[in-house]
Amino acid sequence: MLEIKNLHARIAEDETEILRGIDLTVKPGEVHAIMGPNGSGKSTLSYILAGKEDYEITEGDILFNGESLLDMEADERAAAGLFLAFQYPIEIPGVATMTFLKTALNAQRKARGEGELSTPEFMKRVKDKAAELNITMDMLKRPLNVGFSGGEKKRSEILQMSLLEPKLCVLDETDSGLDIDALRIVADGVNRLRSPDRAMVVITHYQRLLDHIVPDVVHVLSRGRIVKTGGKELALELEKNGYADYVGEQAA
């Protein structure tokens, strides 16, 4: 589903290299966790997947279902089935949450040649998914994310993901800022989406999310490179020993 080949990327503005040769293959049905120290490039990788324009790819390629993502705009990637749950979801004053959800869903359907959803059908879907995530209708009446608490914003991201039903879900620290109950609600929401033809890349610092969303593969990203790949036990080991071993290897 996703093939990242020797990806090198830098910040377009000042040419600082952030990603220095990433290789990563994710197959349908798999869940990959990416862990790594602060500033190692995890969010940068997620932004580059989603199509943010602040970065320049200097080498390598990203294939999504066999096609290169590099020439596609962010909205085309989304319509093709890629979804990024942001580490820091932003507030958009003046844009009603419902209007936003409906515009996004219908834009994607249109891009895929499907018909628009009727308003009642759309409302029903939103209500069902919102209820599962403990999101009140009152929150949905507000402008997008405006005044939402940190945890509410993260749940709002998962609501969007559940509605848009992407093929590849990239979750950037969706667990940060969630209380214990919210973590379970969000994890359940994510697990409901797990299916043999959908893949997930979960970026996190903590094992506790991976207790709920059990990964097939765990990667350690350090200074823009994947320095270690293992099974779910790798996360447990990191929790115990920290990154010292892997960061050290790199520094040499």
Partner: protein, 436 residues
């Protein structure tokens, strides 16, 4: 250097002088009032950039020539023009139609308005009697030396006077549709008076004029004690448009106005607001959307002459291409107008490198126990917001439109009338869907 000895020297100015000479002969009962107004123009000429109030809107430089006053439109012409003026088609309203400055009774809902107890009078008829003409043509004090207003008086073709009686509440909004059929200049007057406790919603819409068309419109809204007025005013394009609006608020009255200017030509809307009774409250909203080489000026003078009144001014501009938006806002608080609350905000969203916004806020405060403030911001579309929307599959054009609508939302929604707000939002969407 030559000292300027004659005020009238540009082609447009001499055009106006000869046009007035021709008009004068048939001016009848109103000739003395017109002469007086025209004398002001003769002394000052067209306003230019060295006239402080017109610093950013040099009418003299803009107007290369002056179109002759437009002829009376035929009913067929007016009917065709009206069919094209559909900006508020979705609003259940009564219509009063003016074409080329004159009331078209046959296309107006006069009988329905009469049944509502609303008095509608043809301004052209008032001009036939000197005493009544004086009532219409005496320029309000705040702009007694404004040349645009003087030209409107001198060349006035007609208009409409609407009187809403004491305690009356009109069941639907009234739209005054200003049509422009054929070529020429239009000079119209709208007089609206609300009796004590009356409630009224008014729309004024200006259809785009032909390329050489000019519009000089004056509206005078008199809001009685405890009365409530909501008005939306849409100026949609045209080559040269100057509107002057006078708004007088009585004791405990409530007013919400929205001036909506969208176009590619030269447009100036100047509003003169005076508080004459205590505890009145005005929300003065403005939206300007420009592209191409458009020039849109919203100028505002708010005169707090009495204590305990609130005014809130919110003006937003969306500017694309090489267009320039102007906002000039002056709040005057007279010495005894204590407890005045005046807050003025202007915000611009610049959609291109060459788009610009000129801002001139002024507070002239002569009382000590007041709360007055002004603020101004100017910026571009936030790329992070745009990315967020696009990352959810919303294509760029649509995402930008959502953000522009979001930027304007506050100013549009504040008006409160849902159907009118919906019509204006539709107008915004229409503007955004046209490629620059």
């Amino acid at each position: 250097m030559n000292i300027e000895t004659r005020a009238l020297k540009t082609r447009a100015e001499t055009d106006l002088a000869s046009q007035y000479e021709a008009l004068r002969a048939s001016a009848g009962a109103s000739v003395a009032l017109r002469d007086k107004a025209f004398a002001l123009f003769e002394a000052k000429g067209l306003p230019h950039r060295r006239v402080e109030e017109y610093k950013y809107s040099d009418l003299r430089a803009h107007l290369k020539s002056a179109a002759a006053p437009a002829a009376v439109a035929s009913l067929e012409q007016s009917t065709a023009s009206l069919a094209a003026a559909e900006a508020f088609a979705g609003v259940d309203r009564f219509r009063v139609v003016l074409d080329n400055g004159r009331l078209v009774a046959g296309l107006s809902d006069l009988e329905a308005l009469a049944r509502e107890g609303v008095g509608v009078t043809d301004v052209a008829l008032l001009l036939e009697d000197e005493a009544r003409a004086r009532g219409v043509l005496s320029a309000p004090a705040l702009a007694c030396d404004d040349v645009s207003v003087a030209l409107n008086t001198a060349f006035l073709q007609g208009g409409v006077a609407i009187a809403v009686g004491e305690g009356a509440s009109v069941s639907k909004p009234v739209e005054i549709v200003h049509l422009a059929s054929g070529e020429g200049a239009r000079y119209s007057r709208v007089e609206v008076s609300l009796g004590t406790g009356a409630k009224f919603t008014l729309i004024e819409s200006f259809a785009p004029t032909a390329s050489s068309g000019e519009v000089n419109a004056v509206s005078n809204y008199m809001v009685g004690d405890e009365a409530e007025l909501t008005t939306a005013r849409l100026v949609a394009g045209g080559d040269t448009h100057v509107s002057s609006i006078f708004l007088t608020l009585g004791t405990s009255s409530r007013v919400k106005t929205l001036g909506f200017n969208v176009g590619t030509g030269f447009a100036r809307t100047q509003s003169f607001v005076s508080f004459t009774g205590e505890h009145a409250d005005a929300d003065l909203l403005g939206i300007t959307m420009l592209r191409g080489k458009g020039h849109g000026d919203q100028t505002l003078v708010v005169d707090h002459a009495v204590p305990h009144c609130n005014s809130r001014e919110l003006f937003k501009a969306v500017v694309d291409g090489q267009a320039e938006a102007v906002f000039q806002g002056k709040i005057i608080v007279r010495p005894h107008a204590q407890k005045t609350d005046g807050r003025m905000m202007t915000q611009a969203l610049l959609l291109s490198e060459e788009a610009s916004m000129a801002n001139k806020p002024e507070l002239e405060i002569f009382a000590d126990d007041v709360q007055c403030a002004h603020g101004a911001t100017s910026g571009q579309i936030d790329e992070d917001l745009l990315f967020y929307l696009r990352a959810r599959g919303i294509p760029e054009t649509e995402a930008r439109a959502l953000l522009v609508l979001a930027f304007l939302a506050e100013a549009v929604e504040e008006l409160g009338d849902e159907a009118i707000v919906a019509a204006l939002e539709e107008r915004v969407r229409g503007w955004l869907s046209v490629e620059a």
